[in-house]
């Protein structure tokens, strides 16, 4: 075996080992903090390995047969290491490591058993995510795709005794599963047409133009549906805001930095195939841009700080997808990486705030800058990055996305994305002003989080800045394609958003209530999430459960009813015939004698 692949294999192997130990040996799991230490140690090793792999730029592939068949295995598992997966390995292990350290403090009030369970799920998640990233084929990707979905389900439902958390977990699973139906059908069709799940083989044939698959557009669209579910694209984005019922570190890791970006990763990874079907690419771009705008409007009216960030995640995922759809996959992927950093930062900072004040509602916070300056500063850094202010990381990646979409002559999506950029700055500064500035609403004495939480925050903040500076120094390649007016334009939009937020929520120059009245229909729709949640709930209750009830009734009372009717008729027939049996032996003898007599008569007549 190729020794150079040992290191990439080590990356997912460490969290898997941690998961196995925690899952199989309950005494270790029940130590709680011990379990956390084990998990963190494993992920730390993974992180170091991932950095080495990334730094040395390994490229390689290795597969083993998984599902055998007569003519060679029909499915394989393995690892595929290339620049895309290397970058993802670092991002996933880095954010996971920081989140797991942060969780140690954030969840310190949990019972040891529950904490052990948390780290078991976390290790499983990291393993699955890494397996997804390293997947050399669609099937393995789907396998881990589902596994990360499982971890998301388990972690959203971590506080399973809260009804809201239980509901949100199930909802997340179902909605993403709905998208996955398309994914699995897509890969089944693709396999039937090409006989392989392997990326390398498919890409080779795609490049050599020998991938003559009828209906490739349909297949790729179906596969894209998986990404729609997982990356919370319209109309399957409804699960992500609800997923905020999980612990905040989970939101930071799974629902901001890593798992939700799997859809973008999928499109990036399968780019050679998607490139063959421009109509699907256009759909991806339009849907992505629309998602970005839609989510941004909902973020503007949301009062729950975590939900604002969740909508913002949906919105940014729309950005990435729009870039991918416009053919600018490197830009989308770059945005994925930078977004992973600063969105994790924002979530973790929001977690520190929630930890301190005990509520998610921004209108009950305020003036927290004094109480927790560290948190406020890192949150501000994250906000600036998200709003796209140079020289932070978000600025460059966002501009690359906008440039890519513009270059692809997708004017509609471009305008939507530009408007989104404005709204992004607006709602993020709205959150900043409501939370950290203005009058203090929160009771009690909010205090700065412990260093175990602040450390990861600062680290992420520094990385956001450093990554931005590095991009500014090194990477002009993304800029070259973009028109010169774009950077000032996007910064101007961000500035406009900032000014609006300042005027409405800090200075009080404009009354938010009046704005809401002026935009009443929009406000009404956005607050009700455009009725999509209600639509899904209605479909679930009315269509699926209603239909199930009908079928259940038919099965019990009609299909089984026919059987019971037959039974009852048989019983009735027996009931009426049984009176022949008197139970007296002599009556039976009469019968026998009479029968013999009849036989005699019959024999006599017959002989004649």
């Amino acid at each position: 075996m190729d020794l150079s692949l040992l290191l990439p294999l080590l990356v997912p192997a460490m969290p898997f080992a941690a998961f196995l130990i925690l899952a199989i040996v309950p005494p270790i799991r029940r130590t709680g903090r011990g379990a956390g230490a084990l998990s963190i140690a494993a992920i730390a090793v993974s992180f170091v390995a991932a950095v080495i792999v990334w730094h040395s730029g390994f490229v390689g592939e290795r597969t083993w047969g998984w599902i055998p068949a007569d003519g060679g295995p029909i499915a394989t598992v393995g690892v595929m290491v290339d620049p895309i997966s290397n970058a993802m390995l670092v991002l996933v292990t880095l954010v996971s490591l920081l989140v797991q350290i942060y969780s140690l403090a954030y969840l310190s009030d949990e019972r040891p058993g529950a904490l052990g369970r948390y780290y078991t799920y976390q290790s499983l998640f990291v393993f699955s995510m890494l397996g997804l990233v390293l997947a050399p084929g669609f099937l393995q990707m789907f396998v881990f795709w589902e596994l990360v979905g499982l971890c998301s389900y388990l972690l959203i439902g971590f506080w399973y005794d809260r009804p809201a958390a239980a509901r949100a977990a199930v909802k997340a699973f179902w909605i993403t599963k709905l998208g996955d139906l398309g994914f699995i059908i897509g890969i089944v069709l693709l396999w039937s047409a090409t006989g392989t799940f392997e990326f390398s083989e498919l890409f080779e044939r795609a490049e050599a133009n020998t991938l003559a698959v009828p209906g490739l557009a349909v297949i790729m669209f179906l596969i894209y549906l998986g990404a729609v579910g997982k990356s919370a694209q319209f109309p399957l984005h409804v699960w992500l805001p609800d997923a905020m019922e999980g612990p905040t570190p989970v939101s930071a890791l799974i629902h901001a930095a890593t798992m939700v970006t799997a859809g973008v990763f999928l499109v990036t990874r399968a780019e050679p195939l998607f490139a063959l079907v421009p109509e699907v690419m256009a759909v991806i771009a339009w849907v992505g841009a629309f998602t970005a705008l839609l989510a941004a409007t909902m973020a503007c009216v949301e009062g729950d700080i975590k939900r604002v960030l969740a909508y913002s995640t949906v919105s940014q995922l729309g950005y990435m997808m729009a870039a991918a759809g416009a053919g600018a996959t490197p830009a989308g992927f770059l945005h994925l990486l930078t977004h992973g950093l600063f969105k994790a930062l924002l979530f973790l900072a929001a977690g520190a705030v929630i930890h301190a004040v005990g509520t998610n509602d921004m209108f009950r916070m305020g003036g927290l800058f004094r109480a927790m300056p560290h948190t406020a500063i890192v949150f501000l850094i994250g906000t600036l990055a998200l709003a796209g202010v140079p020289p932070l990381a978000g600025f460059y990646s966002k501009e690359a996305v906008l440039g890519g979409v513009w270059e692809a002559h997708l004017t509609g999506p471009f305008l939507m994305l530009a408007l989104t950029a404005l709204l992004t700055a607006f709602y993020m500064f709205r959150a900043v002003f409501l939370t950290f500035f203005g009058r203090a609403h929160a009771g009690g004495h909010p205090h700065e989080a412990p260093w175990l939480m602040r450390g990861p925050l600062w680290l992420l903040a520094v990385l956001t800045v450093v990554a931005g500076i590095r991009l500014a120094l090194s990477g002009a390649e993304a800029h070259e394609a973009t028109p010169g007016w774009l950077p000032p334009f996007s910064v101007g939009l961000a500035l406009l958003g900032f000014v609006l937020a300042l005027a409405m929520y800090q200075r009080g120059v404009i009354d938010p209530a009046r704005v809401a009245r002026a935009l009443a229909p929009l406000d009404y729709l956005a607050r009700r999430r455009y009725g999509l949640d209600a639509l899904y709930a209605g479909l679930y209750r009315g269509l699926i459960l209603g239909f199930a009830r009908v079928i259940g009734w038919i099965d019990r009372y009609f299909v089984d009813g026919i059987l019971n009717a037959l039974t009852a008729l048989t019983l009735r027939a027996g009931d009426s015939l049984r009176h022949i049996q008197t139970g007296r032996a002599q009556d039976y003898v009469y019968g026998v004698a009479f029968g013999v007599l009849l036989l005699f008569v019959w024999a006599q007549l017959w002989r004649r």
Binding site: H579, I580, Q581, G583, R584, Q586, V589
Partner: protein
């Protein structure tokens, strides 16, 4: 010379008397006696045929039948007594546990 048919008529008469007894007696012991008569009618037939056909098989069969009859009576009476112990009656009309 008394012919075969005379024996057969006798046997038929005995059988009919026995059958009549089985059908009309209400006492279980009476029914048993009726069955005895019917079996003996068979015996008469067997012996008569054996005599007129000069075949000993019929006689041997008769011996078997007599032995079986004895056993049957023994078992039958035992059942009747057992029934009497339980039900305090041997009236056949009231022994209708098998009524449907």
């Amino acid at each position: 010379m008394i012919g075969l048919s005379s024996y057969l008529v006798l046997a038929a008469l005995v059988f009919s008397i026995g059958l009549f007894g089985v059908l009309t007696r209400r006492n279980a012991v009476g029914i048993l006696l009726g069955i005895e008569l019917m079996l003996n009618a068979v015996n008469i037939n067997l012996v008569a045929f054996a005599r007129f056909h000069g075949d000993l098989t019929g006689l041997i069969f008769t011996l078997f039948t007599i032995a079986i009859t004895v056993v049957e009576v023994a078992v039958g009476l035992a059942i009747v007594i057992a029934i009497f112990r339980v039900r305090r009656t041997v009236d056949a009309d009231r022994l209708d546990l098998l009524r449907g």
